[in-house]
């Protein structure tokens, strides 16, 4: 912005402009016009849905008579207060636990992958490997998750083979457990962690690593004191992408889970797509958004950076 020099007021003979927004726009409209598209995007796809979601949650009625707006705050009490028919706090807590654990798993798996691609591979292979990371996106994630359900089922190839060599007993199973759901989430979102970390690693100036070695830094010290801090922005972006996506995911728990893996994502889906209780679905979504918002805000304040460019 600063490179576009403002027109000198003396030339036009106009009085010195006051620093008001209007004047700034008039003098240099380009950035504001450019922001218009993004602003409209946020308005249409974020602000309006958010407000309409909140509004729908405050409606009362049923699918037969229709839903009318009545400031029905009571719906939140019915869902989350004492005496609620279903334990939505549990579903919410479970979703956050699954999402957080899946995020940790993607970091543990994704960081070495990104590091390998960024530093240990010949340049001509990098694009091919990045393509492999993203290759799974070519198939719908519902189908991929269903395939896992097939592979990991009790009579599926994996468990049958393990039972064959007596590594596991007859009662051992994977599907229906918390681990299966978390694994499914981590698998589906792995690329969302690898790519931002890769981008962050790629930008590290190799001279910094050399400098660390010149200063007698051991390899581990170089990694923990030079490389890792410089990828903070990548990990931060990855956590946002993976955690938000996993915490609201209804697919993994319904395909890989069992009777005690019900999450708030499934509750929203069932309220909306089975029972047509639009107000309940909207109330559950609103609570999920608020809770995720608070968690991420707190996280961003603690771990985030002030400089937005670090995140790109």
């Amino acid at each position: 912005m600063t490179t576009l020099a403002p027109r000198a007021p003396a030339l036009s003979g106009a009085p010195a402009p006051s620093p008001g927004l209007k004047n700034r726009i008039r003098r240099n409209p380009a950035p504001y016009l450019l922001a218009l598209a993004g602003g409209a995007w946020l308005l249409v796809l974020f602000v309006i849905p958010l407000i309409s979601g909140l509004a729908v949650s405050l409606m009362s009625g049923n699918p037969q008579d229709g839903y009318t707006f009545t400031w029905n705050w009571a719906v939140y009490g019915q869902l989350f207060g004492p005496g609620a028919a279903t334990n939505d706090w549990l579903f919410l807590g479970r979703a956050i636990f699954y999402g957080a654990t899946a995020t940790v798993v993607t970091i543990l798996v994704g960081f070495p992958m990104a590091y390998f691609i960024a530093f240990r591979v010949k340049p001509q292979w990098k694009n091919a490997l990045l393509l492999l990371v993203m290759l799974s996106f070519l198939v719908s994630f519902v189908i991929r998750t269903d395939m896992w359900a097939f592979l990991l089922s009790d009579q599926g190839p994996v468990l049958t083979a393990l039972r064959g060599i007596h590594l596991i007993g007859k009662g051992f199973h994977i599907l229906g457990t918390d681990a299966a759901v978390i694994g499914g989430m981590a698998y589906n979102d792995l690329a969302f962690m690898v790519l931002p970390i890769y981008v962050a690693l790629e930008r590290i100036d190799p001279r910094l690593v050399e400098a660390s070695a010149d200063l007698y830094g051991r390899r581990s010290a170089t990694f923990f004191h030079t490389v890792l801090p410089l990828t903070r922005s990548g990990i931060f972006a990855g956590i946002l992408l993976v955690f938000i996506d996993s915490a609201g995911d209804p697919v993994s728990p319904s395909l890989l889970g069992g009777t005690h893996t019900y999450t708030i994502g499934q509750a929203i889906q069932d309220a909306y797509l089975t029972n047509q209780q639009y107000n309940v679905a909207a109330a559950l979504s609103t609570v999920l958004m608020i809770v995720l918002g608070v968690i991420l805000f707190a996280y961003a304040r603690i771990a985030g950076t002030d400089n937005i460019e670090d995140l790109v």
Binding site: V56, M59, Q64, Y67, T86, L175, N275, Q276
Partner: protein, 408 residues
């Protein structure tokens, strides 16, 4: 500072309100009130309001319909005769009438399918299907009550009058078959894997047996699940009360430690590949599985009784090819076509005369003589009907009692 000066503290911590910020605040407040007023005016229209708005003269409607050469048919998976990816009965129909059929197996369960198309139906939009198949449950009642489906022109359905079984004529959920014709009838009982199960299964009480821990599956459809619970505690569903429902839900909760999952159509895959050993099951699914080689699978009419249901063909309002749909309905109600479909589908055939066709023309005595495809009096005696919900409130109460079983 000897004495604490509140005014000074306020001056330090709070910005002073200028005229401009006061104006701004007032504007924001007014905006907020305006928005709240807008919100108060907004609503999601119900189905009933729409139903009242439309009055159709059906005689005139059918008279002015023009024949088309297309039919878009939405049905459940594995619910029509198939041969190498083709549907012979539909091919016969195309050959006889010149109407091409786009057959889509998109219905996995009643409630989710209905919830998906309901917004379009309410807005009087074409849902893209000229024929849908729905079970006699709350959703079907709702579709009829709300005027979401067409009234049938029975003068164009001579085969239905001639061949239909008495059990599918004039059903309680659609008197006079004004809107619906049965596609298939079926039973909900239980099925188990004879080889893997540790014991012979005879009824719902076996679901509680710890020997089946983690090997039982039940349906995630509230209507089916709740009725299984009612049968298990020995209550006649059609006359049951909310107190009975609560007891049934308590029984289902007692089964839960044994349950691996509450499934939709996928339950049949899970029991076929041995992941589950004992499941709530639809009769036809089990026979199809047996025919496909799952010989260890056995369908059991529970000692406590089984449910019967009817899946019905309906023509949604705004369907583009209504005459084609009607034509297919009539075409289906013949011994040849119903028999061809039945020999593959193995539920209960709505055309009794198809029995001879299957026995003699298709030469398949196993199906023709099965009491679960062409039921006899003994089967009828242990068979119960679904409760017909009187209002949405009643249905909602049912849901609020049985939802917590699945949502745990």
């Amino acid at each position: 500072m000897g004495e604490f000066d509140r005014a000074r503290f306020r001056g330090l911590t709070e910005s002073r309100m200028s005229r401009r910020s006061l104006l701004r605040g007032a504007l924001a407040g007014a905006g907020g009130i305006a928005m709240a007023a807008t919100l108060a005016g907004c609503s999601i229209p119900g189905a009933k309001a729409n139903a009242a708005a439309q009055q159709v003269d059906w005689a005139a409607f059918w008279k002015h319909q023009k024949p088309t050469r297309q039919l878009n048919f939405a049905n459940w998976p594995l619910y029509i005769d198939q041969d190498k990816g083709k549907y012979p009965s539909l091919q016969l129909f195309t050959k006889a009438t010149g109407i091409a059929v786009d057959y889509q197996q998109v219905i996995q369960n009643n409630a989710p399918f209905y919830a998906t198309v309901a917004p379009q139906l309410r807005a009087h939009q074409d849902i893209g299907y000229d024929l849908v198949v729905m079970t006699n449950g709350w959703e079907l009642t709702e579709m009829i009550d709300n005027g979401f489906v067409m009234q049938l022109d029975h003068s164009r359905l001579p085969n239905f009058a001639k061949y239909a079984a008495d059990t599918v004529k004039n059903p309680p959920y659609d008197p006079g078959n004004k809107h619906s014709l049965t596609w298939q009838t079926g039973f909900t009982g239980i099925a188990y894997n004879k080889k893997l199960a540790p014991k012979k299964v005879t009824g719902f009480h076996d679901l509680l047996d710890p020997a089946f821990k983690g090997r039982v599956s039940m349906m995630n459809d509230n209507t089916e699940l709740g009725h299984a619970g009612l049968l298990a505690i020995g209550v006649e569903p059609t006359t049951s009360t909310a107190a009975d429902w609560r007891r049934a839900a308590a029984w289902l909760k007692k089964v839960q430690p044994n349950v691996a999952g509450y499934y939709d159509q996928s339950y049949i895959d899970k029991i076929q590949n041995g992941d589950t050993w004992l499941t709530q099951a639809w009769s036809g699914d089990v026979f199809q599985a047996q025919a496909n080689g799952a010989t260890d699978l056995e369908f059991v009419i529970p000692a406590e009784g089984q449910m019967v249901w009817h899946d019905n063909m309906l023509i949604p309002m705004q369907a583009q090819n209504a005459l084609s749909a009607l034509r297919w309905m009539d075409f289906y109600y013949t011994p040849e076509i119903a028999g061809t479909v039945e020999d593959w589908v193995n539920y209960v055939c709505p055309v009794p005369a198809a029995k001879d066709y299957i026995l003699h023309e298709l030469d398949d005595p196993d199906v023709a003589n099965s009491p679960l495809v062409f039921p006899d009096a003994a089967v009828d005696k242990v068979t119960h009907n679904f409760r017909v919900f009187q209002s949405y409130d009643e249905y909602e109460e049912w849901n609020s009692i049985f939802n917590p079983v699945i949502q745990a």
